[in-house]
């Protein structure tokens, strides 16, 4: 309970107290004077009766005289006289001294002594008459009287009756006047009392009206202020009742945010259900219910607000959908009887969210750039430039292939295979260089190609998406070049400033020079990626190999290494069980012949070609029936291996399984007009021998 603030209501309390005092005073006085007036009325009545009694006395006396004269029985008039005498005497005594007398209805009535001089004078005069009257009457009252006694009584009565009657008349008038005076006084008191009460009332009324007007003004002011705030505030603001209805006072912005008018009493749950997902709504209702309850700590659940940043869907009048993001906050509002409402604010944060997303994209992009930078930084500049040139070349070829007009389905399939070969080569190069970013991009491209390969009845439109991916790869090469140039210029300027006199490393070297030792690392890394161990021994791979070949041979070598590790070299445990060293060994030997031709021998000590496995794959891929497959010669099986899209691995990864590795090897050898031979022994080795004729000094790669 709040302590009562008396000050504010002081005027009212005093007014009411005054009102009560006036009223009570008037009432008490009224009661007192009224009872006085009632007594006076009795007195007036009895005084009037005295007049009648004096007449009656005379009449009784005359009656007795008459009966006495006629010698009749006069006992009845005597008794009447006795009564009259007694009442008159008692009454006049009561007037004089105060006391009881017989009332008009036969009961005893108390009369108060008349105090006023005027009244006493009248009573004294009356006593002067009544005294002797009583004396002459006393023998008559006994009934035993002489005629003389009767005569003297009658004579006295006749002489004094008028005077006594007059005195009683005077007494009546006196008492009447007294009563009238009191009544006048009473009226005056009443008028004064009522006037005071009325004045008091008017004061109260005036005060009240003034107070009310002041309060109204304050309320009006407050309301105007609230309205102004609610109309100008940029947020949606409203009070949510426990029954989920929206209160009558809400900000104008709320209607803009929810895109609807008159939200008063609208059910918030229903409003939400039309714009958010059902699951979001359920969680939101749970959360709001928790806030309406008294158990959870408001501060400790703020972070759980499921409408903190919520995606909403609005449908406009023309039926168009638009996605927005709203941010709601809820705060408990405590009334006098505990929690009564939640104050809800809503802000449309769509722009902010979109900006954040954009920022995230930009960040991602710059992160990509940084990744790109950190990837290319440790690379051998020559290798990188060679890679970029080779990649550009291959992408150009892919581009040309995409543009080439094609007529029938078979051509489309061939187109996919050709593109696949280039991209797979590019991926292998990237992998060898440790350029993961490009490797990933090429892998994605390959996935699209696999999809095309599995699409029946290809059309030109199916290739459109490839153009976009191709564009992406071109862009990467562009940005690497740009980065590389910038790095070069930084390096140059630093060198220049240091005045070391050394020109940039890049410029001096022959651009087509390979550091073959990086393939040793590539072998170890690729093997590790497959949970295997392997190393490579390179023989006669001189840095000064003819430019026409070095890039092709390098690519060949990369494809062969990937193929060995994916299919040939066994896992360390398997190798150990077969009494082989845990680490697989690859040997590559390059021989330069006198006629200018080259022979390139590549050999791994892995599983060798397994005819059973190749046959099974051929059947599985629907190339042959089981019967046909079992009849295939070893030579035919080897040829099968070089068919586009053929693989013995069912689970493609970045190094194998797309059935393209062998196909590439074959096509590369073809490009160099070379010859390819395969020799193998199950469980022991697999060897590729490649013969390349003398270079013809016409074209140059890149």
């Amino acid at each position: 309970m709040k302590s009562f603030n008396f000050g504010k209501y002081r005027v009212i309390v005093i007014s009411i107290a005054l009102f009560l005092v006036f009223d009570l005073g008037v009432l008490i006085l009224n009661f007192y004077i009224s009872s006085e007036i009632a007594k006076d009325a009795t007195a007036v009545n009895l005084a009037g009766r005295q007049r009648m009694l004096s007449q009656k006395t005379v009449k009784s006396l005359l009656d007795i005289q008459n009966k006495n004269f006629l010698n009749e029985d006069y006992s009845a008039p005597v008794d009447e006289l006795k009564n009259t005498y007694s009442v008159f005497d008692t009454t006049i005594n009561a007037f004089e001294n105060g006391g009881n007398t017989l009332g008009g209805n036969g009961s005893q009535v108390e009369l108060s002594k008349i105090e006023q001089t005027e009244g006493n004078l009248i009573l004294d005069d009356a006593a002067l008459i009544w005294g002797p009257y009583k004396r002459v009457l006393s023998p008559i009252l006994t009934g035993q009287f002489s005629d003389a006694q009767l005569f003297s009584a009658v004579a006295y009565a006749s002489n004094n009756n008028i005077a006594l009657l007059g005195k009683m008349n005077d007494l009546t008038f006196f008492l009447e006047k007294k009563a009238t005076d009191k009544a006048k006084f009473l009226r005056m008191v009443q008028v004064i009392g009522i006037s005071l009460a009325t004045i008091n009332f008017i004061i109260i009324l005036f005060h009240f009206i003034k107070q009310l007007r002041k309060n109204d003004e304050l309320l009006e002011f407050a309301k105007n202020e609230t309205d102004e705030i609610l109309n100008t505030v940029n947020e949606g603001l409203f009070l949510l009742n426990k029954d989920y209805s929206i209160g009558s006072q809400y900000s104008a912005e709320l209607e803009n945010i929810f895109r609807r008018e008159s939200l008063e009493n609208v059910n918030f749950k229903r409003l939400l259900s039309s714009i958010v997902k059902e699951k979001t709504l359920q969680v939101a209702v749970d959360y709001i219910d928790l806030l309406f309850g008294d158990r959870v700590n408001e501060k400790l659940v703020v972070s759980l607000n499921p409408l903190d940043k919520v995606e909403v869907l609005f449908v406009d009048k023309s039926g168009e959908f638009s996605t927005h993001y709203l941010s709601f906050t809820f705060s408990r509002v405590a009334g006098e009887t505990g929690l009564s409402h939640l104050l809800v604010t809503v802000v449309d944060v769509t722009e902010q969210v979109l900006l954040e997303k954009e920022l995230l994209l930009v960040q991602e992009k710059s992160k990509d750039q940084i990744n790109l930078l950190t990837e290319i930084l440790p690379m051998e500049p020559d290798s990188l430039i060679n890679f970029l040139n080779a990649s550009q070349n291959m992408l150009d070829k892919v581009n040309a292939e995409l543009r080439k007009s094609t007529r029938d389905d078979g051509d489309y399939t061939e187109k996919v295979d050709t593109i696949f070969r280039y991209i797979h080569r590019l991926k292998g190069d990237a992998s060898a260089l440790g350029f993961k970013y490009m490797q990933k991009e090429a892998h994605t491209f390959e996935k699209s190609l696999v999809q095309l390969r599995n699409t029946p009845n290809l059309t030109g439109n199916d290739f459109l998406s490839l153009a976009i991916e191709l564009e992406d790869m071109y862009r990467i090469i562009e940005s690497v070049r740009a980065l590389f140039d910038r790095l070069g210029s930084i390096r140059n300027s630093v060198s220049a400033k240091n005045e070391l006199g050394q020109s940039a490393v890049l410029a001096e070297k022959n651009p087509i020079q390979y550091d073959w030792t990086d393939l040793e690392k590539f072998t170890v890394d690729t093997a590790a990626k497959h949970g295997k161990k392997a190393s490579i021994k390179l023989k006669n791979f001189a840095a000064s190999m003819p430019a026409q070949y070095s890039s092709s041979i390098r690519e060949l070598l990369i494809q062969l290494i990937r193929n060995s590790i994916a299919h040939g070299i066994e896992e360390p445990r398997t190798r150990k069980a077969a009494e082989k060293p845990e680490e697989g060994l690859i040997k590559a030997d390059l021989q330069f012949n006198e006629d200018g031709s080259y022979s390139f021998v590549y050999r791994d000590d892995g599983l060798g070609l397994n005819p059973v496995k190749i046959r099974r794959s051929a059947v599985k891929r629907g190339l042959y029936s089981e019967e046909e497959a079992s009849e295939l010669s070893e030579q035919q099986l080897v040829r099968l291996l070089f068919k586009p899209g053929f693989s013995t691995n069912d689970d493609p990864d970045e190094d194998s399984g797309r059935g393209v590795g062998m196909d590439i090897i074959r096509s590369m050898v073809n490009e160099m007009n070379g010859k390819l031979r395969v020799a193998s022994s199950i469980g022991k080795y697999c060897q590729f021998t490649i013969l390349i004729p003398a270079p013809q000094p016409v074209q140059e790669v890149a």
């Binding site: 359920q282 749970d286 928790l290 501060k299 400790l300 659940v301 972070s303 759980l304």
Partner: protein, 122 residues
């Protein structure tokens, strides 16, 4: 105030214990459990006033554990300490009877102020 810690991560349990046993704390760590089942047993034994509760735990998860603890002693103060990845689960835990939520990861100060906020407003 007797405090019980429920979390399947040893690191989190140790952290809460370390922060809340510092001097000047109105808490007395009476035990820690690594899943809901252990928590129920430990609760019977130590009768704590305040519990910090993880949600995803083996054996018995936080939500089930909260509803059992509340049915045993309904004025137990429970602070859910969990990652913010699933708001709906955390809200479910509050519906079952928890009083507040602290998001993982948290700093020493955040933990202290969350627990004092929890016991201040009962």
């Amino acid at each position: 105030m007797k405090l019980m810690i429920v979390d399947d991560s040893n690191i989190i349990r140790k952290k809460i214990e370390r922060v809340m046993t510092n001097e000047g704390q109105s808490f007395n760590v009476v035990g820690s459990a690594k899943n809901g089942k252990e928590a129920i047993a430990l609760f019977r034994q130590t009768e704590p006033d305040v519990v910090t509760m993880d949600l995803t735990m083996p054996e018995m998860d936080g939500i089930e554990c909260i509803s059992q603890l509340i049915s045993m002693k309904n004025d137990t103060l429970i602070l859910v300490v969990s990652a913010l990845s699933d708001k709906a689960t955390a809200i479910e835990a509050l519906k079952q009877g928890a009083h507040g939520f602290l998001c993982k990861p948290f700093s020493d100060g955040e933990l202290q102020s969350a627990l004092s906020e929890l016991i201040e407003k009962v």
